[in-house]
């Protein structure tokens, strides 16, 4: 298990080298900054200390709940330009169902419970902080019951 919170860009190929060795299924999710509304970047603020602890705790929970053989979470903070990757999760499991569900679960949690806050940056400078969405809350509530 590996959890990284860093300002630097990350290289998926390097991080995934050897990941999932012995597993039958590896799922990765990568979140990229889209240029919607003419933005040029995002600023991501985090809570140093709490963010790393929360990610570690949820990566561990996902390992147990979905029977993973490995999990990787990397999340950037600071200014991230349009087109760049913000974060990636990778999950490894014996079969595809566990790997898919664990990645989906981790993403729903990251979107609404991980201590990150983001704001849009336009050509003119910082805009508003991005508001939390009901859709992200609803997505997370899917996991309240044990997986089927």
């Amino acid at each position: 298990m590996r959890v990284l919170v860093q300002p630097q860009p990350f290289d998926p190929a390097t991080l995934l080298d050897g990941f999932g060795s012995g597993a039958g299924a590896v799922v990765t999710f990568t979140g990229l900054v889209r240029g919607d509304g003419g933005i040029v970047a995002l600023d991501i603020e985090h809570y140093p200390g709490m963010t790393e602890r929360a990610l570690q705790a949820h990566a561990t929970a996902a390992m147990q709940r979905f029977g993973l053989t490995d999990v990787l979470v990397v999340h950037r903070h600071g200014r991230i330009a349009v087109g760049e990757a913000i974060m990636m999760v990778a999950t490894a499991a014996p079969h595809r169902r566990g790997a898919f569900e664990a990645a989906d679960f981790l993403m729903d949690w990251l979107k609404s419970r991980a201590p990150f806050w983001k704001r849009d940056i336009g050509p003119e400078g910082p805009r508003d902080w991005v508001a939390a969405t009901d859709a992200d809350e609803a997505a997370l509530s899917r996991w309240d019951d044990p997986p089927g």
Partner: protein, 83 residues
């Protein structure tokens, strides 16, 4: 009681500092927010309406009515929007 209080995102911007060390007699997080909101206009702008405010005590998510017994660090922030 001496506490480190941290602010993130728009709460940080309204208060004007990312963290401060304060003395308080507040028993709960909600009492602490009221205490701080009464200190000046900046804190009031951040903490008088707690509808969209989340809190952590010693880096664990907590309720507004959670007691501050033994707490060393309290953080106020908006709902998270990571990923």
């Amino acid at each position: 009681m001496t506490l480190d209080v941290l602010y993130f995102a728009w709460l940080r911007e309204r208060v004007g500092v990312p963290r401060e060390r304060i003395d308080t007699d507040a028993a709960t997080v909600r009492d602490l927010a009221a205490d701080l909101a009464g200190r000046d206009d900046w804190h009031a702008a951040a903490l008088s309406d707690l509808t969209a405010v989340r809190v952590a005590i010693d880096q664990q998510l907590a309720d507004l009515d959670a007691p501050l017994t033994g707490a060393r660090e309290v953080a106020f922030f908006p709902p998270m929007t990571g990923g």
